[in-house]
Amino acid sequence: MSNPIMKVDLNGLVLHNPITVASGTFGFGREYAEYVDLNDIGGIMVKGLTLKPRAGNPSPRVAETPMGMLNSVGLQNPGIEYFIEHEIPYLRQFNTAIIANINGTNIEEYCEIAEITSKADVDSLELNISCPNVKAGGLAFGTDPNMVYKVTKAVREASGNKHLIVKLSPNVKDIKEIALAAEEAGADCLSMINTLTGMVIDINSRTPILARGIGGMSGPAVKPVAVRMVYETAGVVKIPIIGMGGISNYKDVVEFMLAGAGAISIGTANFVDPRVTKRVLNDLTSYLKSNNIDNINDIVGKVIR
């Protein structure tokens, strides 16, 4: 059998394969480029960007949990201007989509960074309204359907006709109404899930391990929550979904795609195996071949409901 078709079209964002890497876990690609050929990755969601450079939170910023971890990086990044000048030209050397994860503390800031970034040479904007690690903005925008609608609509208008992904938080009552609000406001695509808020306490010192106390949980432990949310969301929206949360092998990818994800993203698993993306791509290809599936898109949403 010839190689299966891996290309996916996420409502205008075309990826040569459905495997992307999750924002904040892959920097701007430079470090992992020493371990994997970035040309083998469908798209790179870069570290969360803000208008001005941000120093992030104090350390410790990580606490390990059973099959997962908490982080409280707090959007440390060099700022949008630095990104445009230094990181886009670097990433453009590779055949991979550049997806800019953008952040703000109020609607004006979200719009300003969206406008600047949409004019830059990126393939898509990923509007992050779900970061649990900053005081202002972030998660506050992602948990109320009215706010989600407002910020998405404003950013949609500020970003011309650039492809727009809205990244959703799992820390919500009903993911469906949040997803519908983003869709109605003009999102081209959804990505989910961002991290779940969590905490670890050191019983000897009786203090939380993270300097900031609370952080965002990721890794295999969150996978069933993420699959459920993708499944629920896929049942109500028409726009495609990029699924993520604990993916570390091809079986996880198939699970997310069956649940309704049109593409997936790998985050924490990169820390465990810097070459995980390539391994997953190879294994996924073999899986499709041995099951006589000649197009990856044929499994999307094919879970039996």
Partner: protein
């Protein structure tokens, strides 16, 4: 392209109740290992625990290298339980080692607790480079360990113990100050607990002596991508959060901001 390695455990030696060493085979295609560099060890092959454990190199031989590990929790315990002949997956060597291009003979090596292990490899390398022994000041809470190995790389070892069981009772800084008072010292290379790094830096500042500190922070990726391992570093008038895994783990004492 870089990769992770499955390396055979060639030997294991128990040094004390809580410290052991493993000897790993060194593959031909592994880059040179510099003192102060470390590896990310997968404690178990079945995937749990999830994250790699950062462990410094304590000695490099032609076809093998040694790690010295303190039992802390589940990860280090699983590594301890591995059998000779089994393999362990490692990432690395990663990080910048000690900066030795301009190393001068009149320098001092300081280690404390499990932090003595990376400076052992430093003592070995400096001895080879200068064909001379460097003063090595080691601090322990109680019973010292690994001194036999250290004696291969320096004849000028001084010990301080908090319990007073052997050597000078107290901290390495007491030993260090004697040297700083009496001699013109170029650089002090240090690895040890956070409080010790800070004490040594403050002491050396008073004598205008350069320090290189091997810093520790909790890590995830180990290669500079995730930004969870940062420490506060002065750059000109600015304070920046730099990555311990990639920009360090060795930093000049003059750059490190201890009280953030």
């Amino acid at each position: 392209m870089k990769k992770t390695y499955d390396l055979k455990i060639m030997d294991r030696e128990v040094l004390s109740q809580e410290v052991f060493k493993i000897l790993l085979e060194k593959p031909a295609d592994m880059p040179e290992i510099i003192p102060g560099q470390f590896f990310g060890l997968k404690a178990d092959d079945n995937g749990y625990p999830l994250l790699r454990r950062p462990i410094s190199v304590s000695r490099v031989d032609a076809n093998s290298f040694e790690l010295t590990i303190k039992l802390v929790g589940q990860g280090t315990e699983l590594i301890y339980n591995k059998k000779i002949g089994e393999t362990i997956n490692v990432l690395g060597p990663v990080g910048n080692g000690f900066y030795l291009e301009e190393a001068k003979k009149n320098s001092i090596i300081v280690g404390g607790g499990i932090g003595i292990s990376p400076v052992k490899e430093l003592a070995r390398v400096l001895k080879n480079k200068f064909n001379d022994d460097f003063p090595v000041l080691l601090g322990f809470r109680d019973e010292p360990f690994d001194l036999e190995d250290f004696s291969l790389y320096s004849s000028k070892i001084e010990i301080a113990t908090e319990s007073g069981i052997t050597g000078t009772k107290g901290y390495v800084t007491t030993l260090l100050e004697e040297h700083l008072k009496e001699n013109e010292i170029d650089t002090v290379y240090v690895c040890g607990p956070h409080v010790m790094l800070k004490a040594v830096k403050l002491l050396c500042d008073r004598y205008n002596v350069t320090t290189q500190l091997l810093m520790e922070e909790r890590m995830a990726c180990g290669i500079g991508a995730c930004l969870v391992c940062t420490c506060a570093i002065k750059e000109g008038t600015e304070i920046k959060n730099k990555r311990v895994c990639k920009d360090g783990p060795v930093f000049y004492g003059s750059e490190v901001v201890f009280d953030v």
